[in-house]
């Protein structure tokens, strides 16, 4: 799937030294003028500019999507009011508006994201040549679609007291979360607009969080990315057990530090402007069950899937079998949402199946020691990420075989013989080469996931010398590591 150019990363010089200072100065000037509407207009303008900067061709689609969804929301609201005035209990007409609106959003997503995947699959199954369409995936379409659907449903459920077009457009376009979340709800964003640009004691906290996020992304995730790339690129050859674990563990951590780093930066940027975005991660690798994992990983997506897929399917109210079906379908949809590839489908299916097993296990009332629950959860998540990252199911299976030692202990670069391990233990630095260093870093990271996460640090934040040192240390080290080819993994979805 060809993707549009890509958003300007928060960790780029362009964003930090050019775009954001300009936005913030403009925001303060508008605020000083004392006209909130001007503040909102300014933010809409720069948000649209931010989107078009990353994806010029997608700008028109975004504008079209805004107009269409606003019209449908207006239609739902008008019909709802009419029904209430006439005391008409029938919601058929409102439902038509709702289904129409959701249908258009889903159709757009299906067309842009899945058409070629569908054509390729047909070609493969029927063994015929099918011409692919020249489709460019608009920036952030998956996140935008989910947010639009949530907005229409909230309008339908009469949760939104009044919808002003300016608030709606700003809610949809707000640049810190426009392209890769967190997925936000209209009713949690709009009431905060009064504090836009106000010095509410949050700017320092925002800077602090932004620096931590940037450190996670540029120092940790981007370093791991090199090991991941090397390991997965070598999987065509024989990948030994040690190298396979290094490559896959690196990806497990890369994904977490990349996406949670991005989320921290998005939340930090919004906080500097006076807006509090919902948290997206809460130490997911500390989870002691898969259910627990999904309460901690990409929390805004999990909440969306629960409310708009799992519950409408029937949730857990219709017996064990139907609940299992609902769980499986929800995670399958979650997998497909991430991308048009079989790897994502398998990843979703693994999580769905594992959650079904977890529920059955719970029903039997067997208790596992928490350390074993953690290990089991981590391993399921870890193995599932192999399918998420691999370029094909075959590659994923090759790596899984290597993970269980099918292809021997070591890679072809390093001698993992017993003699060399002994030399390494005796302090010979060259005994195991860089692989040993990588392995030790991964062990340290495994330890680091038990440290307080950035949201805990944010809660504890008070402007102080220690906090300043942390922010400066993270910020400077990050600038030291900013590389040219470092986009966010989730910006691809």
């Amino acid at each position: 799937m060809e993707r549009a150019g890509g958003a300007v990363p928060f960790n780029s010089y362009e964003f930090i030294l050019l775009f954001f200072p300009l936005v913030y100065v403009g925001l303060c000037l508008c605020r000083r003028a004392g006209w909130l509407r001007l503040v909102k207009l300014w933010l809409i303008l720069v948000s649209l500019g931010f989107y078009i900067w990353g994806d010029p061709s997608g700008g028109l689609l975004l504008l079209g999507s805004l107009v269409i969804n606003y019209l449908f929301a207006w239609g739902i609201g008008r019909e709802g009011s009419a029904c209430r005035r006439a005391n008409d209990g029938g919601n058929a007409r409102i439902r038509v508006w709702l289904v129409g609106g959701i249908g258009i959003n889903v159709a757009l997503l299906l067309y842009f994201k899945y058409t070629n995947f569908f054509l390729d699959s047909i070609a493969e199954v029927l063994d015929v040549a099918v011409m692919r369409l020249d489709i460019v995936l608009p920036l952030g379409i998956s996140f935008i679609t989910f947010q639009q659907i949530a907005f229409l449903v909230d309008t339908y459920r009469n949760r939104l007291s009044s919808i002003r077009i300016i608030d709606y457009v700003l809610f949809m376009c707000f640049f810190p979360q426009l392209t890769a979340g967190p997925i936000v709800r209209y009713q949690e964003m709009v009431p905060q607009y009064v504090s836009l640009g106000r010095s509410s004691g949050q700017a320092a906290a925002g800077i602090f969080l932004f620096c931590i996020g940037m450190f996670k992304k540029t120092v940790i995730a981007d370093t791991l990315a090199i090991w991941v790339r090397d390991g997965y690129a070598r999987s065509d050859d024989i990948l030994g057990l040690v190298d396979a674990w290094i490559a896959t563990l690196s990806y497990t951590f890369q994904l977490y530090f990349d996406f949670s780093g991005y989320s921290d930066m998005a939340i930090g940027v919004a906080l500097i402007m006076g807006i509090r975005l919902p948290i997206n991660f809460n130490s997911p690798y500390q989870a002691t069950s898969l259910q627990d994992f999904w309460r901690r990983w990409h929390m805004t997506l999990s909440a969306f899937l629960r409310e708009f897929v799992y519950v409408p399917l029937g949730g857990n109210r219709q017996g064990r079998l139907i609940t299992s079906r609902n769980l499986f379908l929800t995670f399958l949809i979650g997998g497909v949402w991430h991308g048009a590839a079989w790897g994502f489908v398998i990843w979703g299916a693994i999580h769905g199946l594992a959650l079904i097993v977890h529920r059955l296990w719970q029903a039997c009332k067997f208790e596992l020691p928490s350390w074993f629950g953690w290990l089991l959860t981590f391993m399921v998540v870890h193995v599932a990420w192999v399918f998420f990252r691999a370029e094909s199911a075959d590659q994923a299976l090759d790596i899984l075989m290597s993970l269980v030692g099918w292809n021997g202990l070591g890679g072809f670069e390093t001698d993992y013989s017993m003699a060399n391990w002994v030399r390494a233990l005796l302090g010979a630095k060259d005994a195991l080469g860089s692989r040993a260093e990588q392995a030790s870093v991964l062990v340290l990271l495994l330890g680091a996931i038990w440290l307080p996460n950035s949201m805990t640090l944010l809660r504890r934040f008070r402007p102080s010398g220690a906090a300043l040192l942390v922010a400066l240390g993270c910020g400077l080290l990050s600038f030291f590591h900013v590389s040219e080819f470092s986009d966010f993994i989730y910006a691809r979805f």
């Binding site: 010089y13 030294l17 004691g201 102080s464 300043l468 922010a471 910020g475 400077l476």
Partner: protein, 316 residues
């Protein structure tokens, strides 16, 4: 004295912003000083100064210029090449880090200082084609700062700011001041960076057969090649691109990839006086220098002869 245990939000932001600005100013200062930290700095300073110095002493005398990466620097001796072709020749080769745009820029500089220039010989190792666009290489060598390369960089000013505020400048700067870094001196005899004594032939280097030539060409490199072709066209130069030499064992094992590279590059042949020759010069192990695509200084004149023999009929 601020209370560091409990400071106000304003003080936090002020200190944060002030210290960050100070660090960036330090980076800018080192960028401005342009100290020599690595081989790349040494050879860049040397070749640019050489180009300017030669104007004063040998005006209009240079008919042919050689540009390229280290495979050009180690394999062609300008004096011997001048003698063999009967045309005044200069070698302004840099290293692979500067990419093909670095060569294009050195060519533009050569034209600037040698109005009588007719021929340009561009020599690049076959390993170069997989690399990304050399932004730093481009901005470090460009004679015209305002030149915009569509599709390659965001714009000269923004790119310049990014380079100047790269905090690694501080690391490099302090290391250079302390006499550190990975610098090799210029060898007057080789008219290039001094060759390392590590050789395949003396067992100090081992062939790594995982590092064969790839048949993949990075789009960035084709865009760089476009820049080079446009310099040739703009100045009416007779440009001949020839591949750098290769260790025989690597070349034999990469035969298919080398043929494929040539096929892919064929579209550039004959475009605006630009030719790409299909030849590859294979080096016996004893002739290989400190890298699989470098020539041992002892065999430099011999390899220069091979290149001169091949190129002479193309020169004007």
């Amino acid at each position: 004295m601020p209370d560091f245990k409990n400071m106000s939000e304003g003080m936090f932001i002020l200190l944060f912003g002030g210290i960050m600005a100070g660090v960036f100013a330090l980076s800018l200062g080192f960028f401005w000083l342009d100290l020599e930290y690595s081989d790349n700095d040494v050879i860049r300073h040397y070749q640019i100064e050489k180009a300017q110095r030669r104007v004063a002493v040998a005006k209009n005398n240079v008919r042919t210029v050689i540009v390229g990466d280290s495979s050009a620097g180690t394999s062609i001796d300008a004096v011997a090449f001048s003698r063999l072709t009967g045309m005044g020749t200069e070698n302004y080769a840099l290293t692979g880090s500067f990419g093909i745009v670095g060569s294009a820029n050195m060519l533009a500089r050569a034209v600037l200082h040698n109005p009588g220039l007719r021929n340009a010989i561009i020599v690049h190792t076959p390993f170069i084609w997989t690399r990304h666009f050399s932004k730093q290489g481009y901005f470090d060598t460009t004679p015209e700062f305002n030149q915009v390369l569509p599709g390659l960089v965001d714009g000269p000013l923004l790119e310049w700011i990014k380079m100047a505020l790269n905090l690694k400048e501080i690391q490099w700067g302090f290391a250079a001041l302390a006499g550190g870094g990975s610098k090799r001196p210029i060898s007057a005899e080789e008219d290039y960076l001094q060759s390392s004594p590590k050789r395949y032939s003396n067992g100090a280097l081992m062939l790594n057969m995982r590092e064969l030539v790839s048949d993949r060409i990075n789009d960035d490199k084709l865009k760089e090649l476009d820049v080079l072709v446009s310099v040739c066209r703009r100045h009416g130069l007779n440009c001949i691109f020839i591949h750098g030499p290769l260790h025989t064992t690597i070349a034999e094992a990469s035969k298919t990839a080398l043929a494929s590279l040539q096929t892919q590059l064929e579209i550039y042949n004959g475009r605006n006086n630009f030719q790409i020759l299909p030849d590859y010069i294979y080096l016996r192990e004893t002739m290989v220098g400190d890298s699989a695509d470098h020539v041992d200084p002892f065999y430099r004149n011999y390899v220069t002869g091979l290149y001169a023999h091949r190129l002479k009929s193309f020169l004007r």
